[in-house]
């Protein structure tokens, strides 16, 4: 069963000509329709995250300022990021959608969650909007789960590093953040030597990929470098920052994945859930509408056992050598950090 929230009423968050646009969500919903789930699709009621739920990961002053900025009509928050009059309410609902999906999964103890929302969230910092993101949707959900005693794995396969999520959980030993991303690229963070704060060493895993990298290299990096860390961490929940801008057709970056690669990534992520009903995907980027539709369909289809055909997984791109250098850099950083802390 697919449990979704979002997918509607996002039209008010729009800036003409901006690539983070309402048509993205329409493409995502088509990708879900393509799976023809029938009764296996459950849409949960919209929910706006409360002030206290947001305040777990955002500064109060930031929430006040963002709300006021929107109510005054909005505008540009930085060179990339906009907000409109409606954005505050929509961002609250985007953050709330993750909470609602997680709650439904907890009640049912089965199914796969999908949070089909915009604006996206993984660049949003505690005190700052950034990179098209206003509130950090996945962080709000992860913080809710850790408050219930859960250990949360966040896998972020968006082509950009989720600097906001990493920073929010930098010193939190109950959240393991694993990111694959093109590097160097916006936002500039995500180096392999970023391994978590002194109170949470080895709970951040960054796997940078060179331009042109294909799915095989990404899987190799995840399997060889991230999987042992995840096994050791023993997550009780798996949340995915599912951006689809690493697709080869995406205009925002230069990785070379296909929709079939996203199916494999989804399967990899879900394999770490200790039992059914513990996996939720959160929409982040993805700006080529056809690739977005196909990739949503492929990744959710893989988790739901759909037999729908996807593009073949890709291989042969550059970056195999970076898998080892990344692992070496991580290990060196961990050694230095351990020496410092003792």
């Amino acid at each position: 069963m697919l449990i979704i929230n979002g997918g509607t009423d996002d039209a008010g968050h729009e800036d003409p000509g901006h690539p983070e646009r309402p048509e993205r969500l329409a493409a995502v919903m088509k990708g879900i329709e393509d799976l023809q789930l029938g009764d296996d699709l459950l849409a949960v009621a919209p929910y706006a995250a409360s002030r206290s739920e947001l305040a777990r990961v955002h500064e109060s002053t930031y929430l006040d300022q963002l709300g006021a900025f929107c109510f005054e009509g909005g505008g540009d928050l930085d060179e990339d990021t906009y907000a409109t009059y409606d954005s505050w309410a929509l961002a609250q609902h985007a953050a709330g959608a993750g909470l609602a999906v997680v709650k439904e999964l907890r009640i049912r103890g089965e199914g796969t969650g999908f949070v089909a929302v915009r604006p996206p969230g993984h660049h949003a910092l505690r005190d700052r909007a950034m990179g098209f993101c206003l509130l950090n949707n996945i962080a709000v959900a992860a913080a809710e789960l850790t408050s219930l005693g859960e250990r949360v794995l966040i896998i972020d396969w968006d082509v950009h590093h989720g600097n906001g999520t990493q920073a929010i959980f930098w010193n939190d030993p109950n959240v393991l953040y694993v990111s694959t991303h093109q590097w160097p690229l916006f936002p500039g963070s995500g180096a392999p030597y970023e391994v978590g704060g002194l109170e949470a060493l080895d709970t951040t895993v960054n796997l940078p990929m060179p331009p042109g990298a294909t799915g095989d290299v990404m899987r190799q990096a995840l399997e060889e470098t991230a999987a042992p860390v995840i096994d050791h961490f023993k997550p009780t929940w798996v949340l995915v920052s599912a951006g689809f801008d690493a697709h080869r057709a995406d205009p925002m970056a230069d990785l070379a994945l296909s929709s079939g690669d996203f199916a494999r990534l989804a399967t990899f992520a879900a394999s770490f859930a200790p039992r059914p009903g513990r996996v939720a995907l959160f929409l982040e980027g993805g700006y080529d509408l056809a690739a977005l539709r196909a990739s949503v369909s492929a990744s959710l289809g893989a988790l739901l056992g759909s037999s729908a055909t996807t593009e073949d997984p890709t291989n042969g791109g550059p970056g195999a050598d970076t898998v080892r250098t990344t692992r070496d850099a991580r290990q060196a950083a961990l050694r230095i950090a351990h020496d410092t802390s003792h």
Binding site: H18, P19, D80, M130, G131, F186, G188, M252
Partner: protein
């Protein structure tokens, strides 16, 4: 106090950023320093696939001439990232800047808000001295030169 060998200044092409660059170039003529003019490539700039390098380079050479700094002592550094993280990286090797310089409004700050203000964010996180050059300082810097 550590001598200033390398000054890193943020440059997005805006008038406010030009004011900051002029100030940094002028300071360099007084303390025999090199200037790294850093430009951050954000999401939209990459999406638009605008090649701003030539434009920024020309602009920088003009500003060097105005400030009387030899061209060889100023270099343009274009990096993917948000303005704040790119500036913070200037303090690390290989640039290892001794001083960061930014304008007040360019480089990401909009609408007179605290939200997204690169200058304030830098002030909070920089491990090396930071100068925020106010818009009104144009006349002061020309006197200094």
């Amino acid at each position: 106090m550590k001598p200033i060998h390398t000054i890193a200044v943020g440059f997005d092409g805006s008038e406010d950023a030009k004011t900051a660059v002029r100030w940094a170039l002028t300071l360099a003529t007084h303390c025999d320093a090199q200037v790294v003019v850093a430009h951050a490539v954000g999401l939209l700039e990459r999406f638009d696939a605008k090649n701003v390098a030539v434009e920024l380079e020309e602009s920088l050479l003009r500003l060097c001439d105005e400030s009387g700094l030899e061209h060889s002592r100023a270099q343009l550094e274009i990096e993917d990232g948000d303005a704040c993280s790119v500036m913070l990286r200037m303090a690390d090797p290989p640039i290892s800047a001794d001083l960061l310089v930014v304008g007040t409004r360019g480089q990401g700050a909009h609408a007179g808000l605290l939200l997204g203000s690169t200058s304030l964010e830098l002030a909070e996180h920089s491990t090396i001295p930071l100068v925020i050059v106010p818009r009104a300082s144009t006349t002061e810097q020309s006197q200094m030169a």
